[in-house]
Symmetry: C2
């Protein structure tokens, strides 16, 4: 791919960009721009060096305290072992009813859904960057199996797979783990993104995300990593510094359709990106989440699943709450250049893994 100047022709002073996928304007406050190094270290809580913590419920030896194991597998040795259990303190439970109940002018329902924890390793400190790509692939495999299982349950309308790393990102336990939540409603936030993609399709006759991918490959200034099946880039209107989208090259609306080859390549992309963040940004707290279509939209031509990574480097404050707009002190092109350590990939070299 072509590597142009890191920043597009400057505008007068500050700049605003519109993200057509989310419908959100983002303010790039260049007068308060921070150098990447000044963003670094926004994390909370010490990282552990210990492979075993006797107080950790996810470390081996506490099996009797865990809820029943829903899925467990590995590659023969305990270093490559995955466990999925029901969350001991679930936000949603499968016993709930979807019936809506009026309460004055308001409405409520029971908290129906599934809330699972995926314990990624028996080792307390074996976070993704120090795993082998094969171990990361086991995690993706577990995501896929649980996704198919949960979306197959009639009452589930959405399955959200996510990982919170560090206290600022909402994690209370440091043991390597992800979470999976299914819901019996489609949240307004998800519907809005669907509507925007539908409107784009109605206007242009193509998938907005496929077009975005083509645009990014052509511009070549926000891409950090690419392999056979995935392209990792900072979106044009990233809402926060070093936000990364890992986009499958193949158009598929829902994560359940991921192929075996794609699982291998997603593991490789995710591993590369989390390593890059850890090394370059001093191991910040982060969240990642897999955006996939709501049920019944899984075959539609405008929907396209992807994985979004958000390092916790800044704070959502009053203006964001009131307007829904973000103030980002860092331009996507500069963030991409900062995270791009390798020799620049050549145009057309996108089919080979960069790592």
């Amino acid at each position: 791919m072509k590597r142009a100047a890191s920043t597009p022709p400057p505008m007068h002073g500050n700049e605003m960009r519109y993200n057509p996928a989310t419908g959100r304007w983002v303010i790039y406050a260049l007068s308060r721009r921070q150098r990447p190094r000044e963003l670094i270290g926004s994390r909370e809580g010490a990282r552990t060096e210990l492979a075993y913590d006797e107080l950790c419920p996810f470390c081996p030896g506490h099996e009797q305290d865990l809820p029943p194991i829903l899925l467990e597998y590995g590659r023969g040795d305990s270093h490559r072992q995955i466990r999925v259990v029901r969350n001991k303190y679930p936000a949603l439970t499968p016993e709930g009813d979807l019936k809506r109940v009026c309460q004055g002018m308001y409405m409520r329902m029971e908290g129906y859904g599934h809330h699972e924890v995926l314990i990624e390793s028996p080792e307390h400190n074996r976070q993704i960057p120090v795993m082998t790509p094969e171990e990361v692939e086991l995690i993706i495999e577990a995501y896929h199996r649980r996704y198919l299982k949960l979306i197959g349950v009639q009452k589930n309308l959405l399955v959200v797979i996510f990982r919170n790393y560090g206290r600022r990102a909402g994690a209370s336990l440091m043991h390597p783990h992800s979470q999976i939540i299914s819901t019996g409603v489609v949240p307004g936030h998800v519907r809005e993104m669907e509507y925007r993609a539908q409107g784009y399709f109605d206007q242009w006759g193509s998938c907005m995300y496929c077009d975005m991918l083509a645009e990014e490959l052509s511009a070549g200034v926000r891409i950090i990593h690419a392999n056979r099946s995935f392209v990792s880039f900072i979106p044009y209107a990233a809402a926060q510094p070093f936000e990364i989208w890992i986009m499958p090259r193949e158009h598929k609306a829902h994560f359940g359709d991921i192929s075996a080859e794609e699982k291998t390549d997603l593991a490789s992309s995710l591993h590369a990106m989390l390593r890059r963040i850890q090394e370059r940004l001093n191991d910040p707290d982060y969240n990642y989440v897999i955006h996939s279509s709501a049920k019944y939209r899984s075959d539609e031509p405008q929907a396209h699943w992807f994985l979004q990574i958000g390092p916790k480097l800044t704070t959502r404050a009053g203006f964001e709450i009131g307007s829904g707009m973000s103030i980002n002190t860092s331009l996507p092109e500069d963030d991409a250049a900062f995270l791009m350590p390798d020799p620049l990939p050549e145009k057309g070299a996108g089919n080979a893994s960069q790592e």
Copy 2:
């Protein structure tokens, strides 16, 4: 008002509620419910005891380093003095142009807008809870004057007034201050709330917020404070613990229409709520923001301005990012009861101030 049992009849297990104003579902995770005391102390950075900090740019004596003063007034003594200046590191600047520029499939524009700082007191540690209600009224007065000034500028389509308190809430300086930002676009987030209110009006023929106020007064289990002009309550589907809405009793779409009497009463309500939060929740970081109509909607029958306070007690994590839903571990009725210290107000006593 009637004070019913603190919690409505329980549902089976967890509960979900729908907020018709935001279109967001909220999950009440009662199995992971925390007692208010466990939420306390979620703040970052020590509070200062000093009335003067020689390194603080907002303390007296640094006037020559401040941008030109846009508004300055008080009541004769320096303890009651307000200053509004242009933000030295503005996110948006009035020199910008509103012209949209295409960049491949994307779009951007210059960062047009105004970004002002309202220095609330010459004293470095004179936060709102230790002010007199009269001093707080001076702040509201300054909000009002700047709001009218900014919304009167032709290119401004929205004015957002907000206050970030503490580092977790995004404040970098502790000196008492608020911020005002005007934008030349109406963000999607604001339009969505307008559409929801419009849909409600089209269906029921009344303002959703007026109906909400009537509902809250009738239920009487989520109200914390009421006076002549304002009712302060935890919304039925509050997205986070101890979220407070201060709602004007009189239907007006935009903050610019606030009356003199309402300014006095808003100062009293805001003062009471911030004091209550400080005392009961151990002085947490918080944001508040005034939600007011976008330009050209200022006379419409479905829009209703209000002030929203959000203490920073929890963390937005992967599930919230992916789904737009919130997980709240605390029921609004219980939060309201925890913040309600006074003898319970009688039904019909709503016209008298509780403080």
